[in-house]
Chain length 295, copies 2
Amino acid sequence: MSAADQPATDPSSTESRWFTEQHARSGSSFGLRIKSKLHAEQTPFQSIEIYDTTDWGKLMIIDGCTMVSTRDNFLYHEMMSHPALFTHARAKRVVIIGGGDCGTLREVLKHEEVEHAVQVEIDERVTRLSEQYFPELCESNKDPRAELLFIDGIKYMADCEPESLDVIIVDSTDPVGPAEGLFGAAFYATCHKALKPSGILVQQSESPLVHLDLIKAMRSAMRFADFTAVKTLTFPQPIYPTGWWSCTMARKGADLSGFRERGAATKQFETRYYNADIHKAALASPEFMRVALGD
Amino acid sequence: MSAADQPATDPSSTESRWFTEQHARSGSSFGLRIKSKLHAEQTPFQSIEIYDTTDWGKLMIIDGCTMVSTRDNFLYHEMMSHPALFTHARAKRVVIIGGGDCGTLREVLKHEEVEHAVQVEIDERVTRLSEQYFPELCESNKDPRAELLFIDGIKYMADCEPESLDVIIVDSTDPVGPAEGLFGAAFYATCHKALKPSGILVQQSESPLVHLDLIKAMRSAMRFADFTAVKTLTFPQPIYPTGWWSCTMARKGADLSGFRERGAATKQFETRYYNADIHKAALASPEFMRVALGD
């Protein structure tokens, strides 16, 4: 079905309605067919909308950008968590910067070795709305190992006790608005300081097809902040621009060439995308990335 | 930028214009911002439109579905060609069913071992328009090893000399309309008969996230047609529904567990996505596919 010759995105019409994010930078758009708008509010930080879709469950929108859908969030949340945690020998203390929908926190807490996981989300409303509309993502929020803080992640990292953390996961929105300060050497330096030796920082790093210059800049800034090794992983994520996404890992004083493959292959918890083979697959560099990044 | 509250897809307006494919089955849509409509026609088989986009080069639409863009077609064309050709020990004779844009033919002919490659496209207009708007995809059409036929691929395979082919690539539209007969055991049986021992059939098999039932049915039909081994590979493809796509390989009388890894690692031609690591990565089964397909 083509919509080129008909206006199709007016949600107030009684016909088929769509939420469409038009991504100016890439000149591409992605939309989901919606049943109804469940919620809209302006928080001190951003606008948040919740929709009910026909085929993707609930949909959270922040400042007009698709953030989380019930159907496909497992791809992103699993890939933001398990590669880093199966690369680290034994991550006991984990901090998540952002991640207010709590999906990354849930994946992190599937690892028995994790003793303490702090989610540092600037906007409490993201978490409260996720509790209401994405309860499955919040099912580990009451885990005694979990701590939920609603403060500025940049300040949290700046004040963090040196060499106190094993893994830092930066699960933020795009590098505009509140998340802008999370993509730069000054922030990475605070992360480097807070990590124990062999600690790992992992951050969502946008689409390999559209944001290669951002990925290059992030990687340079990570190295500038004294991280020893840097590696970009790719994975599918339909609701984000181009449907193809990445995260970038950086390690303090150790390399990123291997992971606990046996641990991943015999993991004692369920996943829907991640497994040991997928971990290896995500480490493969497409030819144009290998050329551009030297990976 | 959000388009939820504004009609945004009317191409006759003077504002920003978009071509949007609303994919009814998945309840998702994908759009590209367009500069102008370059061509539209109704052929005896289907409607074809060509747009010029702001960021993705040219865009070919068939029956309202996004088919090819200048920017991202390399992902699909490379993955439809090189995994099969680097799995086969030495593919001399290759047939492409469909593939009228000639991008798959171009990739196939990068392999020196290929002596004859026939493209069997039912609709000559697809190729003529590709020559005009995607000339880079057609740059090997005059290769002396290339043969372009504009006839029915189902009939071509039914009439094919037994045990005459090494690789068959089914590069078709979705399994509705002219391509419907390409997704079933009767067609696969003609492919099996036409292949030499250890020959390989590879077919585009839609989105793992949306069309898992189709993939399962294809795989069953391939086994029913006496193929010994079946394997589904995944790769990103932004302009197709969900941005995540697959192809399924089937082999006659041999397994699909390995490929010519050294050959792929030392290939004498350029690619933008494919390399030996990406070949291995594409073979990895996400956990939900492993469970559903037993792969």
